[in-house]
Amino acid sequence: MSSMAEEPSMVLVARKDLKMSAGKLAVQCSHAAVTCTLNAKKTHARLVERWSKAGARKICLRADDLETIQRLAGQAQAAGLVTTLVKDAGHTELPPGTITVLGIGPSPRRSIDALVSELKPY
């Protein structure tokens, strides 16, 4: 069981209150996934490699509002995890600068679960 908890994972926490379309949500989440991956490659290269070899686990969770996302971002950073906040460029659907998604990881599943265990899948 302990190996499972050490397995790297990534979570994409999206704001439910923005009521984004499926396509918009997917694009915002993938911004987070790409940015997290590129950032993690610089600082946690071996972790990224293990993560992608094991199928690059990603899960999309929902947050009720901006405060939840900001609180989680703070906690994740304090825990030393790779985090990215996605700000929308505002070309479609939303005003420019809206924070849409928080990406965390790739990081050991145990450290991520400790932060987001109360969130539901999107």
Binding site: A26, V27, A33, I59, P121
Partner: protein
């Protein structure tokens, strides 16, 4: 290496020294026949984006740089089914556009091995529009 990738390898433009002229984007054709939930689609497109980025880093670094520098533009469109995605892949590869297929591990919602997303690019806006310009936004 399959026949298709082999043909692609000998006919595709050389990656180095070949830079895109205009802006670049990445397109995700989502298999709409699978009836995935929103979060599922988001995770699958996320897979596609990360894989396509890595792929581009290896084969088309100058396209990747340009795409990242201009705000990593991404668009999601609807594909009918797995066959439609594969047809588009052949079409894109014959125009030298980088393609990446995502197959689901089948942990949730759909059977293992289902073809969920075809990622195209990063490639020049004009080139990629020729392949997917007619498809509806997701």
């Amino acid at each position: 290496m399959g026949l298709r990738s082999f043909l692609h390898k000998i006919t595709a433009p050389q990656p180095s020294g070949f830079a895109p002229s205009g802006d670049c984007k990445m397109i995700f054709v989502v298999n709409h026949g699978l009836k995935m939930g929103k979060g599922k689609i988001a995770a699958q497109v996320g897979h596609g984006a990360v894989l396509a980025t890595m792929n581009a880093g290896e084969h088309k670094p100058r396209f990747l740089e340009k795409w990242l520098a201009s705000g990593q533009k991404k668009v999601c469109v609807k594909g009918r089914d797995a066959e439609h995605l594969l047809d588009l892949q052949v079409l894109a590869e014959s125009s030298g556009i980088l393609t990446t297929l995502v197959r689901d591990a089948g942990h949730t919602q759909i059977p293992s091995g289902s073809l969920t997303v075809l990622a195209l690019g990063p490639s020049a806006d004009g080139d990629i529009d020729k392949i997917t310009g007619e498809l509806k936004l997701l």
